[in-house]
C-alpha cells in the first residue's frame, strides 16, 4: 500500500519485493529504502500478475480477524472451513497466516504433514478432497522450531503463500490470522487486492478486555476498506455438564459483543458457548452462508 517514489532505482537494486529489499548496500540513499525495508512496497508487476492469476480462481475470500488473541479465530476458521466443505460440491481452502503461532495444522489433525512442490506450485495438504490447508506449520521440521522473524520476512512468506500455493478453483478461501493490526494484516489486505474479498469475520469473547481490542480491529477494517461480514461472540457462557447451571466465565461487563455491534453498526453473527468438546459446525455454517450469499448476489 506504500507507493514507491518515481525516479531511477539504484544500480544493483535488489528489487522491491526481494528479501534484500531496503537492506542491500545498493539501497543506501535510495528514497524508497524505508518502504522497501518494511516490506511495504507493492509487489513487482510480474509478481502482481502472478498473484492476480491465482486469486482469480477464488470466488470468495474471507478473513477471520480479531484484535485479541486466544478468542477462537483458528477454532472458528477450522470449523467454518469444515462446515463449508460438508457440501461436497464446494471447494474450500484454509490458509493460516499466523506465522509465529500456527494453530491450524493441529486443529485439523494434520500435525507432522509436510508441503510438497509440484510443477504448478506448492500443494496444499488435503483434509478432504474438497478441503485443502496451508500453514507455516507444514514447513517446520520440529514442534520446537520457532519462527523468529521480523515483519518483512513474514510479509514475504504470506506473499508466497498467495502466489505459489496451487489451490485450483476455490469457492471459499478462509484466511486465519494472528491477533493484532500489524504486518500480517496489512500485507494480506494488500496482496488480496486482486481477489474478491467477501469480507472479514471478527471473533471476540464477551468481556471488555477483548472488546477494547476488537473495536480497534473494526477500525482497522474501516481504514483499509475491508467489509465486515459480522462479529462472532465466542466462549459466551458455560453450562456445567453436571448441574446445567450457566456461569459467565468471561463476563460481558460492558454489554458483550451485542452492545458493541449495536454501537458500531455491525452484524452480530452469533454467540458460541464454551464447550470442552468444541463447537457445532452447522450453526456457524448457517450464519456464515446466509451472509456471504447475501453479499455475493
Amino acid at each position: 500500500m506504500a507507493e514507491l517514489a518515481d525516479g531511477p532505482r539504484p544500480q544493483e537494486c535488489p528489487g522491491s519485493s526481494s528479501a534484500q529489499a531496503g537492506r542491500a548496500a545498493a539501497c543506501q540513499g535510495c528514497p524508497n529504502q524505508g518502504i522497501c525495508a518494511a516490506g511495504a512496497a507493492a509487489p513487482d508487476p510480474a509478481e502482481a500478475a502472478a498473484l492476480r492469476a491465482r486469486l482469480r480462481a477464488v470466488r470468495h475470500a474471507v478473513l477471520v480477524l480479531s484484535g485479541k488473541g486466544g478468542v477462537g479465530k483458528s477454532t472458528f476458521s477450522a470449523l467454518l472451513a469444515l462446515g463449508l466443505a460438508a457440501d461436497q460440491a464446494k471447494q474450500v481452502a484454509l490458509l493460516d497466516i499466523d506465522i509465529c503461532g500456527p494453530s491450524i495444522p493441529r486443529m485439523m489433525g494434520l500435525d507432522g504433514e509436510q508441503v510438497h512442490q509440484s510443477g504448478s506450485g506448492w500443494s496444499p495438504v488435503y483434509v478432504e478432497e474438497n478441503l485443502g490447508v496451508m500453514s507455516v506449520g507444514f514447513l517446520l521440521s520440529s514442534p520446537d522450531d520457532a519462527v523468529i522473524w521480523r515483519g518483512p520476512k513474514k510479509n514475504g512468506l504470506i506473499k508466497q503463500f498467495l502466489r505459489d500455493v496451487d489451490w485450483g478453483e476455490v469457492d471459499y478461501l478462509i484466511i486465519d490470522t494472528p491477533p493484532g493490526t500489524s504486518d500480517e494484516h496489512l500485507s494480506i489486505v494488500q496482496y488480496l487486492g486482486a481477489a474478491h474479498v467477501a469480507g472479514a469475520v471478527i471473533v471476540t469473547t464477551p468481556q471488555e478486555v477483548s472488546l477494547q481490542d476488537v473495536r480497534k480491529e473494526i477500525n482497522f477494517c474501516h481504514k483499509v476498506k475491508l467489509p465486515i461480514i459480522g462479529v462472532v461472540e465466542n466462549m459466551s457462557g458455560f453450562i456445567c455438564p453436571k448441574c446445567k447451571n450457566e456461569s459467565q466465565i468471561f463476563p460481558p461487563t460492558t454489554g458483550g459483543a451485542e452492545k458493541m455491534c449495536q454501537n458500531l453498526n455491525v452484524s452480530l453473527l452469533g454467540k458460541v458457548p464454551l464447550d470442552p468438546q468444541i463447537g457445532k459446525p452447522p450453526l456457524l455454517e448457517h450464519f456464515f452462508e446466509s451472509k456471504v450469499t447475501g453479499t455475493a448476489t
Binding site: G70, R106, P143, D144, A146, I148, T181, S247
Partner: protein
C-alpha cells in the same frame, strides 16, 4: 562508557526485570503480569509494568487507569501511577492514544522504534521489579524488547500457557525463542486450568489439563503452578480492581500468591 551509560539510564534504579511471554494469545499474560504486580506490591515491593503490546494494550484497563495520559519530565516520560501510594507504575501505548478505539496499524520498524523509546525514556525511578508484558508471538516486539534490555540484568522470563495442546504447541516455540535469545526461563504457568462450578462444585477441564506442567517437565524448567478459571478474577480485571486485596478467598488466589512467592524466593536467593 557502557557502564556509565547504564548507571545514568532510566533503568538504573530497577533491581529486577522480568518478561511475561507466551507464544499463544489470550492465555493470560496481562492477567498474570497484573496479578504478579499486585502480589509483589502486597509484599511491600515497588513494581512497574511496561506493556509492549502495541496493537492490543490490556494493562491500563486492568488497573482502571485507561483514561490517564502520560506526562514528560526532564528524564523522559513519567509512568502512570495506579494510586496515591505510587507503589505500582505503568507505561503502555494505551496512554498515548487519543481515542481508545484507535487502531495502531504499524509495521515492524515503527513498533521497534517505540519499544526502544519505552525501554530508554520512561523515568521509572527506583523499582524492585519491572514486569514487561508482551503480545503473543516471537516477532518484532519480542526481538526488539530483548535487544533493548540486553545491557541490563534481565532476571528472566515467565511463560504462560493454557493446558491444551494448541497452546502448549506455541509455548514450545517460545521456549526456543528464549534459548536463542539467551533468556533464562524462570518457569511456566498453566492458566485457565480447570473450572469449578460455583453452583455444584463440579470441576470441568474446559481447556483440558496438565499440558503446562508436562511441558515444564519436558523442557526442564520450573513449573510455577496451575491457576484455575475464576469468574471473580475475570470480573476483577474488567473493573480494574485489586484482586489480591479484595478476593483472598477466591479460587485463583492461592495459585497467584504462590507464583509471586516463588519469584520473591528466587530473587532473594540471588542476592544472598
Amino acid at each position: 562508557m557502557e557502564e556509565v551509560a547504564r548507571e545514568r539510564s532510566n533503568l538504573a534504579g530497577v533491581r529486577h526485570i522480568l518478561l511475561v511471554l507466551s507464544g499463544k494469545g489470550g492465555v493470560g499474560k496481562s492477567t498474570i503480569s497484573t496479578e504478579l504486580a499486585l502480589s509483589l506490591r502486597h509484599s511491600g515491593k515497588k513494581v512497574g509494568i511496561l506493556d509492549v503490546d502495541l496493537c492490543g494494550p490490556s494493562i491500563p484497563r486492568m488497573f482502571r487507569v485507561q483514561d490517564n495520559s502520560v506526562h514528560q519530565c526532564d528524564s523522559g516520560w513519567v509512568p502512570v501511577f495506579v494510586d496515591q501510594d505510587k507503589s505500582i507504575s505503568l507505561m503502555s501505548i494505551g496512554f498515548l492514544l487519543e481515542n481508545p478505539d484507535d487502531a495502531v496499524v504499524w509495521r515492524g520498524p515503527k513498533k521497534n522504534a517505540l519499544i526502544k523509546q519505552f525501554v530508554a525514556d520512561v523515568a521509572w525511578g527506583d523499582l524492585d521489579f519491572l514486569i514487561v508484558d508482551t503480545p503473543p508471538g516471537t516477532s518484532d516486539e519480542h526481538i526488539s524488547t530483548v535487544e533493548a534490555l540486553r545491557p541490563y540484568q534481565l532476571l528472566g522470563a515467565i511463560l504462560v500457557t493454557t493446558p491444551q495442546a494448541v497452546s502448549v504447541g506455541d509455548v514450545r516455540r517460545e521456549l526456543t525463542f528464549c534459548k536463542k535469545m539467551n533468556l533464562r526461563v524462570l518457569g511456566i504457568v498453566e492458566n485457565m486450568s480447570g473450572f469449578v462450578c460455583p453452583h455444584c462444585s463440579e470441576c470441568t477441564n474446559i481447556f483440558s489439563k496438565g499440558g503446562g506442567e508436562e511441558l515444564a517437565k519436558h523442557a526442564g524448567v520450573p513449573f510455577l503452578g496451575c491457576v484455575p478459571l475464576d469468574p471473580q478474577l475475570s470480573q476483577s480485571l474488567e473493573e480494574g480492581r485489586d484482586f489480591i486485596q479484595e478476593f483472598p478467598k477466591s479460587s485463583a488466589f492461592p495459585a497467584l500468591a504462590h507464583i509471586a512467592q516463588q519469584i520473591l524466593d528466587g530473587t532473594s536467593q540471588q542476592s544472598s
